[in-house]
């Protein structure tokens, strides 16, 4: 019986290792998480704005997401380092005229206002999701995440993790171009 205690670390570790190995061996890109929401209408969203935000303090509602043109929705937080890594790309997209709304996930509004003022604000509307409820509705697994919404307000694409130039060129720009036609 006493010997069994010494097997506990090994057992726990092996369980952990198998669980880490499965997604890798399945060969799936860990970022390309499927979403049950693909081709569905956007979830009902009604989020308040960030009071200290310089650009505008209006919140985000699902009416904003029915824009009549394809748009992006980015989920970010000021405590999230990967969000900072992808931020210049969002700034670039915004400069190219793409409308980007954002859900500010589990964040302190003062921190996120600071963050946007400091690093630049590419977002049209930012909704504050303080307790993560909207994140649940959207099926967010972590920050950052990016959704492409078509002109009819349906989710067409979801990417979990920081955007890279390659992802933009491979997936997002072509999709936006085809949706715009």
């Amino acid at each position: 019986m006493r010997r069994l205690v010494y097997l506990v670390p090994l057992t726990v570790f092996l369980a952990l290792a198998i669980w880490l190995a499965v997604p890798l061996l399945e060969g799936r890109d860990p970022s390309a998480l499927p979403s049950a929401l693909i081709d569905q209408a956007v979830p009902v969203t009604d989020l308040p704005g960030i009071p200290g935000r310089v650009r505008d303090a209006v919140g985000l509602t699902d009416a904003d997401l029915l824009a009549g043109e394809p748009i992006l929705v980015n989920v970010f937080a000021s405590w999230c380092l990967p969000c900072l890594a992808e931020h210049p790309l969002l700034m670039g997209l915004s400069d190219d005229g793409v409308t980007i709304h954002a859900i500010n996930y589990r964040d302190d509004p003062a921190d996120s206002a600071d963050w946007l003022a400091r690093h630049g604000d590419p977002f049209d509307r930012v909704g504050l999701d303080r307790d993560g409820r909207a994140g649940v509705d959207w099926g967010v697994t972590g920050v950052p995440e990016t959704f492409v919404i078509d002109a009819d307000g349906r989710i067409r694409y979801r990417f979990a993790g920081p955007l890279t130039p390659a992802i933009l060129d491979r997936d997002i720009r072509p999709l936006l171009a085809s949706l715009n036609q």
Partner: protein, 659 residues
Amino acid sequence: MIPELGHFALILAFVLSLVQGTLPLVGAARGEARWMAVANPAAVGQFGLLLLAFLALMYAFIVSDFTVSNVVQNSHSAKPMLYKITGVWGNHEGSMILWVLILALFGAMVALFGRNLPPTLKARVLGIQGLIGVGFLLFILATSNPFLRVDPPPLDGTDLNPLLQDPGLAFHPPFLYFGYVGFSMAFSFAIAALIEGRVDAAWARWVRPWTLAAWCGLTLGIALGSWWAYYELGWGGWWFWDPVENASLMPWLTGTALLHSAIVVEKRDTLKSWTILLAIVTFGLSLLGTFLVRSGVLTSVHAFAVDPERGIFILVLLILALGGGLALYAIRAPRLQGGGLFAPISREGGLIVNNLLLVTATLTVLVGTLYPLLLDAVGGGLVSVGPPFFNAVFIPLAVPLVAAMGIGPMLAWKRGDLRAALGRLWFAAVVVIVVALGAVWFWAGGPVLAVLGVAMGLWLVASALTEMAERIRLFRIPLAASWQRFTGLPRSAYGLTLAHAGLGIAILGMVGTSVFRTEVIEIMAPGEQIEIAGYVLTFDGVRDVQGPNYISNQGHLVAEADGNQFFLTPEKRWYPIAQMATTEAAIATTWLADIYVALGEPRDDGRWVIRAWHHPLVPWIWVGSVIMVLGGFVSLTDRRLRVGAPRRAKIGASVQPAE
């Protein structure tokens, strides 16, 4: 030609590590002295070859050899020389070379300075080090060769990620790796002890300096990383609970536990199998950190080069090393019994409490870090845990840990007297209560956590000083006699005081900036003034500045208070080659507080958004960390760690990096 030399050196090092990982182990099992003796030259030779490979890669970066693919992707001819050199480890391939170089450095140090080790133990330790080397060199050669050429070579490189072009981050990886890889020594010693079936006080004495050296490196590495995050990433946040930060915190927590439990093995000959387990797990967590960062299963800003193939390779290494180690542990550890008995209230008991709390803290960080993966695996995929989770679970664990840190050193071995120990801490308790009550009065109805935090930090500093005062019987015998006692204390006693007080100072810094920071946001025209925390900030406008590989808007501000004047130049930089913008905050410090200014967006009318923060006590986080590391170094020079060593001075030098 030079890159090929580096490549050959890498291959030779791999072959040599195969030799080092087999012959000495077989020799030790059979009692063949000559087979065991292979370990020494193999370990030294491996270090020499890897140093050659590392220097070859560095040469390619320094001369901007754009026929090498790694240089093209991570360098640029206009990049400052410092960042050309540090760019060597600013990318996946180069950082793996640094990893194995440090691994070989530790192996070579054991080979050269471990003359007092029993020959079979030494051969086995070096053999295990060799096997780790085999795995990682194979990994580099198979999936991450930094010496690959490109044809035709491009005219110039694509530059290093500008966030990494920074002095704080330039020297962060070497220290961090020194810590991660240093724990491989503890692992090798643990596996060797399991094979030998013997763990005793002498073993604990040999394993401790290596663990301590690694711990110092890791502490410094983590401190540098958080300092970088503080001035480069944001509004003065210094810890983000990012997966990569957590990956470095976990081995630090278990490594700290290991340091303390090794003392128990050494002094009291007990807690053996627990200490062995900690040694295995600490290195396992270092490997897990490498895996999490490199495989891309978790997203992080540090994940420069994510590649699933690499992830599988590292996972296999992790399973072989940790799975093998833990299997050996399951077979052999039950025999490691015996040792001294002790009452629950005793020095041993205190150290066990410390260990349990540290390991629990590690588990919460592990769960928090892997939680998004866990939910994804069971099909939930809904929740991400950020700082709210960690703050909620980590602080309740830190409070009893800090309380025990003050009391533990006062308890006697075997059977301690809690009342007497608390009695000797009356002075520390009075200081804490008075200041805490003062804090409550000052911020009437204010943050409870802040008062608690201040009390925790003060308690650590005061109790560490009390412990030292008790040892030298300060004010109870004449001062001269106290001084004599002080100079006669073992070095590890100074180490204890410094490390515990250092943590207290760091905690004060963390609390100070988290709770008492103030900020001002203003859209300012040149010549305008704002006030923050008693300082008058004057904005003198923004100038365009041309850097070596960037262009910059440089703001000029002056902060004035009571005749003190600080000049601040926050910047917004644009790196045209990397197509990235960074913001460089300007910080003026009085050592009691920082004035932190960041330049925001320009307005159409020529005014600028200026954000200024006052961060009280924030420098203490890093001052405290440095004091902790200093404590580690001082402890490393303790005579008892080299007892029985004929070449005393040399061994001291070997485990004592430059201060």
